[in-house]
């Protein structure tokens, strides 16, 4: 399987451990990623907060770049990027005049036909049976709280993925790999997303609630599929512990970390040793 790959800025920056683990998994599963040539930032929250037109144009250029390379499918493992790409794709599909004007703005014909997949969807496309067959080290010791956060399932009309209130797709993957999952309350609550720097207190409050609820329901780790969730729950966890005077010591894994572990990779091969919170 060949598909276009839009890493986004986070996976080439402070979340390069996410890229490391997903590349390891996908190579083993015979999925070949072709990074989109000269991709640019999707604009993220800053663009849609400050300028509507820009927040369509930036992702649109990336869609056009992938289309020019002949790809019909694109992996965007960061939910912020995939939401922005899908939102632009939807806006362009619904408005031909906008599609023409955005094509002029970005200096490329944007057809908006490229399908955008998040990492969970890619694993679903590969198939749970194939994943199961590739397991070398079942996740017997893992009892995970699968955490979706906001943008993987919302807005539902844009991302059209899973159930926006009661998603189950990550649980199904974990269970196929021999792991256990817990039912808990904060699966689709927000962690504070990109507010880590500008509004730290919000991030500390929200992330503390998420970590506490996961532990109260018997989870021994959290599994995420978003670089921002990982930053707020892993990198900020020592700050959360200091602020609230508690000890969480809750390991935070990317979905591709736990898939990689089940496929037989050592934690170091997946970048897990580079997380802030170590194994409990």
């Amino acid at each position: 399987m060949n598909l276009a790959y839009y890493p986004g800025c986070a996976l080439h920056g402070s979340s390069n451990d996410y890229e490391q683990s997903l590349r390891a998994c996908l190579e083993t599963l015979d999925v070949h990623l072709k990074e989109i040539d000269d991709w640019i930032c999707c604009g993220a929250t800053a663009a849609h907060s400050l300028n509507q037109k820009l927040s369509v144009a930036l992702p649109a250029r990336n869609l056009a770049l992938a289309e020019d390379e002949g790809f019909r499918e694109m992996l965007a493992p960061c939910p912020m990027c995939s939401m922005q790409l899908l939102k632009a794709r939807k806006a362009l599909a619904e408005d031909e005049a906008l599609r023409r004007s955005v094509s002029e703005i970005v200096e490329l014909e944007v057809r908006g036909e490229t399908q955008v997949l998040n990492l969970i969807q890619l694993f679903e496309t590969i198939g749970l049976d194939r994943l199961k067959a590739a397991v070398k080290a079942p996740l017997g010791s893992i009892c995970a709280a699968c955490y979706y956060g906001c943008l993987l399932t919302r807005p539902a009309s844009v991302v059209e993925f899973d159930d926006c209130e009661q998603p189950r797709s990550m649980e199904k993957i974990l269970e196929a790999l021999g792991g256990k999952t817990v039912d808990w309350n904060y699966r689709t609550e927000c962690c504070g997303a990109g507010m880590t720097m500008a509004n730290e207190q919000t991030v500390l409050d929200l992330s503390h609630k998420i970590l506490s609820n996961a532990a109260a329901h018997g989870a021994n780790c959290l599994v995420v599929a978003c670089p921002m969730c990982h930053v707020n729950l892993d990198m900020k966890q020592p700050d959360i512990e200091r602020h609230y005077g508690v000890r969480h010591a809750m390991p935070i894994y990317y979905l591709s970390d736990v898939v990689g572990l089940a496929l037989g990779f050592k934690p170091e091969a997946l970048g897990i040793d580079r997380h802030f919170v170590g194994k409990a």
Partner: protein, 155 residues
């Protein structure tokens, strides 16, 4: 998110319906909003509340009504966009530096300036930071896209 807001999304929408835009623009809530899309997803009338929040932020920033505290979020987002306009991709180290510097110019808070100073070495130890960030090759086209979408002086 609504729980911690001075004016929750439902009441913000009502204020706008009643024509009290100026009160909505002064709400702390529009800067507390993290665009998690919960309000828009759960609205029984399918109002895109999160989209309305975006519009309120744009108006508030344009009219300069945001207070220095609220400005922190605007300053961060403006620094973010300037960074992309320059590099095509986000350079996190540059962004943090630029954001800290601009908030210092606004609020003169030394403690905020140095608050995350220990973060960079910790990220570097984990090879999560590169001193020289990535850049897109065709940065000129990125600058042209920005110029066609917005008044550059706003950043």
């Amino acid at each position: 998110m609504a729980a911690g807001m001075d004016i929750p999304p439902t009441r913000l929408i009502r204020l706008l319906q009643l024509g009290h835009a100026e009160r909505a623009l002064e709400a702390q809530a529009i800067w507390q909003c993290v665009s998690c899309q919960t309000c828009a997803t759960r609205c029984p009338k399918s109002v895109d509340c999160a989209g309305v929040m975006d519009a309120l932020r744009q108006l508030s920033a344009e009219r300069g009504v945001a207070t220095p505290e609220q400005q922190r979020t605007v300053l961060f987002q403006k620094a973010f966009l300037r960074n992309i306009r320059r590099n095509g991709r986000l350079n996190e180290l540059e962004l943090i530096g630029e954001f800290k510097f601009s908030t210092f110019l606004h609020g003169r808070s030394l403690s905020f300036l140095f608050k995350d100073a220990t973060l960079a070495p910790q990220l570097m130890k984990r090879k999560k930071f590169h001193l020289v960030g990535e850049k897109a090759h065709d940065r000129a086209v990125v600058a042209r896209i920005f110029a066609r979408c917005m008044d550059n002086s706003l950043l």
